[in-house]
Amino acid sequence: MSLAAPLLRSAPSTKAASRKPARPWPNWLVSWLQVGPLALVLLFMFVMPLIFVVVVSFFDYERVQIYPAFLLDNYAEIFTSAVTGRLYLKTLEYAAIVEAITLVLGFFVAYYLTFHVRTLRWRIILMLACTIPFFTSNVIRMISWIPFLGRNGILNDAVMATHLVNQPLDFLLFSDFAVILAYVHIFTLMMVAPIVNSMSKIDRSLIAAARDAGANEWMIVRDIILPLSKTGMALGSVLVLTQVMGDYYIVRVLSGGKSAGVVSGIATQLNAFEYPPAAASSVVLLVIVLALVIGIFSIVDVRKELAE
């Protein structure tokens, strides 16, 4: 009786809780109210500006004025101008090189963190160590490369001290090398994090099973870990590619103005109040980035990763 009594007493209240409360509003209205705020933010701060950019990209312009029109000239110029072509090529070149380096680097850093660091505590410590570069602002981070890589910088002094070279290395700063170094420095973490996420979902018994089948360390990486980390690699690649293709600050500071990407070109046009060609260039860049992202997602099914 002493055991059964509380059960009996609680019975009516559970019955009441399971009964549906009457809603004052119809369901469809409740749903709209729930999604409404975010939908409005996205509409006014993302969709409308985007539409505006697309519309302006067809406009005519002259010195500081723009005229409503429907011209394809802005687009025609992008595809015919040799200068613009070079900007696109440069951006794609940076994107490809940085993607390749961060992918390889990110994969092995993630692999080491996930499979060779034994305790969770050290994994977290090392993962946080990867974020140390992000403790300072982007501007300081970029500018501090200059005294390090410069003609009379720390690195050159060190190299000179070894007497292996008898004059400072010029390619270190204000060069593609410096730009790519800075990109890799910042974006590798964006590759590492999603790959670590994928790898930590790999069941350890799969690796034991592969070892039992006779696979060595390299075969396990190639046959088990690499295929099962694809979604992380895809998500990381999307983050890195969109960041590199959207950058104009790093390329400006670290190439010393010698190099420029698509966004640098857009910035120059904006400074000159040439809004319609800048808008057209933005649209083309957006299409290219979207195509890349769609391409990546069509190779790798990331829904699985996001759903879990």
Partner: protein, 347 residues
């Protein structure tokens, strides 16, 4: 079992020298395993005769899985030696032991088809694609999974996944197959069916199976050699019938089930529950008390009894005997048995 007996299919790995002669497939010599101070397996020695079905039986945390992983080479030993056949493999990697392991959750590679899962160990040995696929198909046929060859594990049921895992473990033609709780993820019906198939495969292949389980039914049904483990020690290693008829300690008697452990003249004694009878307290009562439960099991009825001294015991009685003189929970009763059914325990 055509795949195994077919002389046209060459075996991997190549049987080591002395393969035919060694009387034991597995020999553990004073093997210990400790992790950072705690001892998981404490100086155990065990010999598993050639081509036998051995079950490592014990409650969770008794060291049975650790022992299996040490035999497999997935866990280094802290001390002692492991012999497979007559070779000391203590320091060998899994591939150089002649063992193969089937994992608890099957550990099938989710991005590969059933066929590629089975063929994987041939792939790492550099067997050409067509040959390894043909061989994998034979092993899938062996476990009746031929028609599911192209499916990824996610599209297979638990029982089907297990068959694929079995084929994957057998394709290397191991001398010893190691199974870590192979049936625990299956539903009871499937479990009994797979149990029969495991035994059949072991007989046909004439290799040793070492099967880790916490289910005494499974061990009794399958094993030629039951190894009861507790707290890192082997408590008893004997054929199933010997274990059931002559458990050597109270732990073994309780763990194997079906026994009453009661105080005897000097030390405890074990009496099989099916050799006990329920009687009135008058005639040669051994344990008096009252009935605590009555469970109808079909052919048998299990009558639980709580002694006046607080001891719990049970009698397994045939349904005919029970219904001739039924008892109710709460009723005073006594347990009786004859002297020849009492078995003295070591502790």
């Amino acid at each position: 079992m055509n795949a195994h007996s077919d002389p046209g299919v060459s075996g991997t790995p190549v049987p080591p020298a002395g393969y035919k002669d060694a009387p034991y497939d597995v020999e553990l010599v004073a093997v210990s395993k400790s992790y950072a101070g705690t001892i998981a397996v404490d100086t155990i020695s065990l010999r598993i005769p050639k081509a036998s079905y051995c079950c490592l039986l014990g409650p969770s945390g008794c060291g049975k899985s650790t022992t299996l992983r040490m035999i497999a080479g997935h866990e280094p030993v802290s001390a002692g030696d492991i012999l497979i056949g007559d070779r000391n493999v203590t320091d060998n990697p899994p591939i150089a032991r002649g063992t193969s392991m089937m994992f608890q959750n099957y550990a099938l590679f989710p991005h590969m088809s059933a066929l590629d899962n089975v063929a994987y160990s041939l792939k790492v040995r550099g067997v050409p694609k067509d040959e390894r696929r043909a061989r994998a198909r034979e092993f899938l046929d062996l476990v009746q999974m031929g028609q599911y060859a192209e499916r990824p594990p996610a599209l297979l049921s638990g029982g089907q996944q297990q068959r694929v895992a079995l084929a994957r473990a057998l394709i290397t033609r191991p001398r010893v197959l190691l199974l870590d709780e192979p049936l625990s993820a299956l539903d009871p019906f499937l479990r009994e069916r797979m149990r029969g198939e495991l035994k059949r495969l072991q007989r046909e292949l004439q290799i040793s199976f070492v099967h880790v389980t916490h289910s005494q039914d499974e061990a009794m049904a399958l094993a030629d050699l039951v190894v009861v483990m507790e707290a890192g020690h082997i408590r008893q290693a004997a054929p199933a019938r010997d274990i059931f008829e002559k458990p050597n300690t109270a732990f073994v008697a309780r763990f194997i089930g079906g026994h009453n452990v009661v105080p005897g003249g000097n030390g405890s004694i074990a009496v099989r529950a099916d050799r006990c009878r329920i009687g009135s307290s008058a005639d040669q009562a051994r344990l008096t008390g009252h009935v605590s439960s009555v469970e109808y099991l079909g052919a048998l009825v299990r009558v639980g009894l709580i002694g006046d001294n607080g001891l719990e015991a049970a009698a397994l009685i045939s349904d005919r005997t029970f219904f001739a003189a039924p008892v109710e929970p709460g009723q005073a009763a006594a347990l009786t048995w004859s002297d020849e059914d009492a078995h003295a325990l070591a502790d």
